[in-house]
Symmetry: D2
Amino acid sequence: MAGSSFGEMLRITTFGESHGEAVGVIIDGATPGVELSESDIQTQMDRRKPGQSSVTSPRKEYDVVHILSGVFEGKTTGTPIFVILHNTDMRPEAYDDIQYSFRPGHADFTYWQKYGIRDHRGSGRASGRETAGRVAAGAVARKLLANRGVSLVAYTKEIGGIRCESFVESEIERNAVRACDPEAAAEMIRKIEALALKGDSCGGIVECRIRGVVPGLGEPVFDKLDAELAKVMLSIGAIKGIEFGAGFAAAGMLGSEHNDPMDASGFLSNHSGGIVGGISTGQEIVFRVAVKPTSSISVPQRTVRITGEEQTIVTEGRHDPCICPRIVPVVEAMACLVIEDHYKRLAAMRD
Amino acid sequence: MAGSSFGEMLRITTFGESHGEAVGVIIDGATPGVELSESDIQTQMDRRKPGQSSVTSPRKEYDVVHILSGVFEGKTTGTPIFVILHNTDMRPEAYDDIQYSFRPGHADFTYWQKYGIRDHRGSGRASGRETAGRVAAGAVARKLLANRGVSLVAYTKEIGGIRCESFVESEIERNAVRACDPEAAAEMIRKIEALALKGDSCGGIVECRIRGVVPGLGEPVFDKLDAELAKVMLSIGAIKGIEFGAGFAAAGMLGSEHNDPMDASGFLSNHSGGIVGGISTGQEIVFRVAVKPTSSISVPQRTVRITGEEQTIVTEGRHDPCICPRIVPVVEAMACLVIEDHYKRLAAMRD
Amino acid sequence: MAGSSFGEMLRITTFGESHGEAVGVIIDGATPGVELSESDIQTQMDRRKPGQSSVTSPRKEYDVVHILSGVFEGKTTGTPIFVILHNTDMRPEAYDDIQYSFRPGHADFTYWQKYGIRDHRGSGRASGRETAGRVAAGAVARKLLANRGVSLVAYTKEIGGIRCESFVESEIERNAVRACDPEAAAEMIRKIEALALKGDSCGGIVECRIRGVVPGLGEPVFDKLDAELAKVMLSIGAIKGIEFGAGFAAAGMLGSEHNDPMDASGFLSNHSGGIVGGISTGQEIVFRVAVKPTSSISVPQRTVRITGEEQTIVTEGRHDPCICPRIVPVVEAMACLVIEDHYKRLAAMRD
Amino acid sequence: MAGSSFGEMLRITTFGESHGEAVGVIIDGATPGVELSESDIQTQMDRRKPGQSSVTSPRKEYDVVHILSGVFEGKTTGTPIFVILHNTDMRPEAYDDIQYSFRPGHADFTYWQKYGIRDHRGSGRASGRETAGRVAAGAVARKLLANRGVSLVAYTKEIGGIRCESFVESEIERNAVRACDPEAAAEMIRKIEALALKGDSCGGIVECRIRGVVPGLGEPVFDKLDAELAKVMLSIGAIKGIEFGAGFAAAGMLGSEHNDPMDASGFLSNHSGGIVGGISTGQEIVFRVAVKPTSSISVPQRTVRITGEEQTIVTEGRHDPCICPRIVPVVEAMACLVIEDHYKRLAAMRD
């Protein structure tokens, strides 16, 4: 299909363009009878929204959550939950300059090649704004998972070459880059601010830990749990790689180092990242994603126009000099959707 | 669904256990009227089969290809192509020792937790043998892609810390590790042989390049081309990570470095790996996967039995001390299936 | 999945309850670059809306179409088209009486059994109002099909035992029951009005003819064209049966009568209804659906309350004494979606 | 996808042509740990096989069941169950005459139009032989359903205008036409034998009753239980219509007649056929399908050759003069697959 849907038993479908009238999501298959309020979703939307700090885009989207179906008297009914987020701070005219040009790093060229038509305003459907619907859906999954005793946390591990050395979970939401090491966070912020002044951007690494999952999640061949997580993470625009547990470092390890031994108390290490043979072990699931530097920069770059004419382009606008802090809630949301979906698939398999 | 199927318009379903009677695949949706013979598939099977050299498992599976449906008078008919590979060199009794134990790094524990029953013989369904059906299906997709002018090559980039410095494509199939640098290859082989003597194993990195694709492949939101490739690659048992283009290195780059500029002749660099916004640019698609060290080692390891009792385990058997060379054709096969599927999806979208 | 989505390459997902805030649909996979306006959809919505005549529900829903995404400068962009229809004439309090009762013929009992919770207001998700989204989506498919030279017409064939004897296509939209025989139509209207006075309802038969399709639509095994049409038609609440071509009459025919012979000019009859082996022949596709009498009647009926207590129930409210005329555009919409989807699947197969 | 797969959580994929080497099925998603033997499947295969009596095709296919994966030590493992049935009584040369002709009523013309190539031998994939794989898969589902207390029976209700007046369940498998009324059965057999002598064929009606289902099966919008049953039944080659409960007769009923009232003991009638709003009520599920007369007849018929040349054709071969008795086990098999799949979907929804 056209690709705007994800999930097997808990299935979401998103719609909306960056500078269209609204973005949103239909969530189909949520367990009925679960308490769900707009504020459950709003909490997560607020973590994703722009304008939170000096290191994020100054666009002002309040992203006020409206649930238009699927919830009755404060509880899910088992029917599709529809969440709409009206766009408010749209400035489509700001994009008139780029209507006929391909911005480097952006999907302008590929959309044009694929469709022969594109809503160029703020990247249209290719905008990070599409993830608003994902975060709304993820908030519903998070609520369902909480009832199962599953929780998760994502955070910035590295930005612009600066790497977190400590892991202080309580600090993550207290700094503007959502880093797990407050000292590294301060350094990261300085680096981003300096780059922003030059109109440049930088990338980073985000790590996610999922706790409390039962062993047995994930299907054994194509729909392995790590395969599904890899798919949804790579479906986030700026993400260019993923690794589980030891990940790429496993390439340099011996089998006798990488294998996780067990004793009567359970696993003695977690190089697998909590997934073996595509199925959860019950340990913490750990993965990291590579986040590319934001494509929108005001440093002059060479490109061409739709007509083929060469030009130098400077992408003005209200952009994030580093998208890591805002990707954190998106990573969490997508992880929640995959895990909740696989709980339901496990129940179906065993029934 | 239960996860043994993959693909939207070109859809494959595999079956079979390592030491059962047969493994195989149904390929549904292949373009009709295309010449296809058993030898087209056999060629790829021969690249994957064990017993090819000193660095692979000595198990002797000839993997003789039988096409039982979907081909008539040498051409595809548009109906399901069924390929069966009878297992011949089965030694299920060799696994009697591990029937009630969980081998570290293997899916023994997770299958047990998920299903409460398992075919323990040679890892059953979790065995790398399941990929035989994938390679057969990939051979069909490869044939279809050749008609489109698409070709691809995968190869070992790194093994046990030894990294290829040169890229000599013609050398890849000439060395036992399928490395792109013959000097590195020789060193890798020595390293693997030394480890094999100790009963240990090592991991590596495999890279894949896909050439000749049109721009426009990939769906823009969840079914991005890189997301789909990530899913199928992580669905290969030993793979623990994937990165596209600059990949994890992008985390340390500036936007002004990572963005690929264009001039009238096209893109001037390929940090994106040939995919932007989830859609192919028409450049070479480049990705790398992290391969963990083979789990089956004869170094003693701590583990537990199904009963919870602790034990020390030594995994005997006929195993690959490094799986990279045999993963190469599997990576190619899965890439072919994804690319061919997306060609068909593109045709459907435009129709 | 949870079942609110339909279609493979052109895929729709509906949401919304009868007396919630809105109903609507996401249409994913529509061909890009096609002219589409809200009035294209409004035309079809107006055919479905209540309050059109003495034989339909007096509820006043203007069903004003809003397209919130997927259309840019008057053309489809290939991204999801989102259509929302705000509910306006909601009277949820009218349903307070039935909150704890199961109305005969309604899905009150089955929803309660399935979910343990239900939005009882106007049947919630089980209401015919859900079809508003389908008609909106069908209008998009109809537009795409028009470009292929495909057209279709559905109409009432029989109501309350009164059967159309003639087929005058131009009369269909001129009478309140959308019958193809104006004389039968007058009689049907009299019958419905008489039943409405008694608080009772009646059923009928709707026929659909699809013209201009190419031969070759439909997949050969499970996704036969007639199988897919059967599914979507039976997915319309009031429909209890479907037959193609000669249909149930074929049960009493000989092979020598039922087989459609050919000569050089083509088929000489159409007992198959234009589909053989699940694939379109290129002839007119003809099928009929059985429409049950509307469940909402004010004749007293025996039922039970959620608590198990017996009661006599009288369903008041603004209901259709015969749903056939309003089912006509829904049947057309669903048929358009199936046909358009299969055109795309055919293109993918051949590519 | 290409259409050879069916089901969401319990998913089957069939392959094979009538006169190819084998037909068969992969069943993915069956509950693990359930006892399953080849004889469980053989029993159902024997009911479907040709050569059972004077009223069925004399082709001799023993359809010996081989399970090649997914069962270990007599129990399902949760991995794909692969069942193969080797074709033995193949006479492809018998079809040489029709290689370049379109037999009336057969899918020869539509396959040719769709694919431009076809395996003409015994209708290839379009043959009723494809249903062998379905019956094998259905036997697995039947076993799973028995553990849930669900049973079902299908039988001939009408053949060639002769209708069963009584319902004697114990007689169904005792007569060659599988009719529920032994007197009608005798008359049907005489009629079929007389037609067979003339080289003609006749149609009929098959009814199915499913007992012991819980209320709550079926998804509320597109994947209604009756919609899914309609799809799979119409996916059986010879079936041209389906109706649930009162079915087409509902078109002539009043709401006050058709609605099923309730008292404290449950429903007082079953005009709905056990499904309301697409969800099972817990009553017996009842539906009927219209079976067309077999297309293969030796009465001379007009047709054309691939070249467009007109001809008179006489279809020789070993055919069933009435397919109803052999369709009975296919209807049961497909019903089992749908019901079992929806049990699993219900479990997933509630989890």
